[in-house]
Subunit: 288 residues, 2 copies
Amino acid sequence: MFHEALKAAAQDVQAVFDTVLAEYEDFPVVHAMRYAVAGGKGLRGFLVLESARLCGVDRSGAQFAAAAVEAVHAYSLVHDDLPAMDDDDLRRGRATVHVKWDEATAILVGDALQTLGFELLSRDEVGPAEVRVALITGLARASGAQGMVLGQAQDIAAETAGGDLDLAGITALQANKTGALIGWAGQAGAVMAGADSAALARYSAALGLAFQIADDILDVEGDAATAGKRLRKDESAGKATFVSLLGMKEAKARARALVEEAQDALGPYGAEADVLKAAARFVIERDK
Amino acid sequence: MFHEALKAAAQDVQAVFDTVLAEYEDFPVVHAMRYAVAGGKGLRGFLVLESARLCGVDRSGAQFAAAAVEAVHAYSLVHDDLPAMDDDDLRRGRATVHVKWDEATAILVGDALQTLGFELLSRDEVGPAEVRVALITGLARASGAQGMVLGQAQDIAAETAGGDLDLAGITALQANKTGALIGWAGQAGAVMAGADSAALARYSAALGLAFQIADDILDVEGDAATAGKRLRKDESAGKATFVSLLGMKEAKARARALVEEAQDALGPYGAEADVLKAAARFVIERDK
């Protein structure tokens, strides 16, 4: 059930990109934008669509918000992969944008994907203007220098300083770097419905942290071909991770506990939230 | 009168950045954001504030929109100056962000400044939600891969192809690269007032093109120390410019004609538009 929902969400998000980018000029930077938004798990877009369903929000509007967060996520990956950042050549099982095109194109693609994210949220289809503005404010705070970009900067600083972050430090860093965007996505449905987002906020916070612990585990135990990206990066960079700080066994126990916490948070929604509960399990069981 | 208005606009925009960024964490990427938004002419922010005044829009809200376009402009400069792009080390008379900090910081600073632009437009102070959404849609289209980023990509493509653009090609390129953002700024007041923006659109289109012709002239005749940035870039890159295509004399005549066209467009506003008319003259007489 969950995997069907994840796949359907990815297809609906892709349909938005297909429609919207068809109006763009036929230019390499636009080709590279299409390339960059394709092939991901689509977890963030799924969270938008599934939280929207849970809150009774129409899917045809929500899918623009789902595409928006996937555009912003894709922008962050394209820039994160640049030589001056993580210098990765493999992403989603394919060459990264700066490898397939060049660095200048990758910089512009990331820039334009971020813009596209905000453009998508500003569209009439998303809902009343008040809702669109609330989503935009939230996404800006989650992704800018008070959220995702701050987390990336903290990550670089930690690497430069030689990985001396403790558990509190790494938890705070990851809450910014990956948690903020996941949090926005998981609460988007409630924001669109004008409903109370407290339960979804608790769910997404636990989910985001579980996701990152799972990423650290995957970096050690995963298979690069399956994951579609370079692994064993943290150890070679001497970075503190949840695994290096907690040990593998405890990291796994912690991730499992967070999944339960995420699922418990959805109690008020009953069986309607089963797909989101399954998503929490998926987050720590995935192999990519 | 114009110079006082330009200076006052720059101060009001700076005040927005001071207030907003004070809430950000004390981190190098945030210091570099403050650095990147400082010291410019502030022409785009001025156009927002002056078109707002002309349309009877309250300055306290308009200054957030003015800061938004300056944030987006600053992001484009920081990324444009990167080694993989124009590789410039001087901007606004100071070291570029990647020189003063490093490339990774410059990438993140540009990213976060773009986000900040949209965050500022989504603020309550800007006006009713419908107005904020209209400004956001407009800024996204002007700055993304249908506007500024497309223009930058076209510029890179033209350079790679060896500067064989004709006058129509370079005009189209510049309409995207610099014209779209100037156009958004010059019409912002009408958008905020819910007024007809046709006259301001004609004004800004002529102004934007005059601005770019003046930039090409400045690249040949200007003084790098006064301009605060590297000059003689176009010739050494073998790029087609308005000067190389028209000759210096005709380029200057064309710029003057565009200034008249811009001023004529403001006819309906009478003497109230004198400051914007003076801005059009400034655009072709500036030495930086």
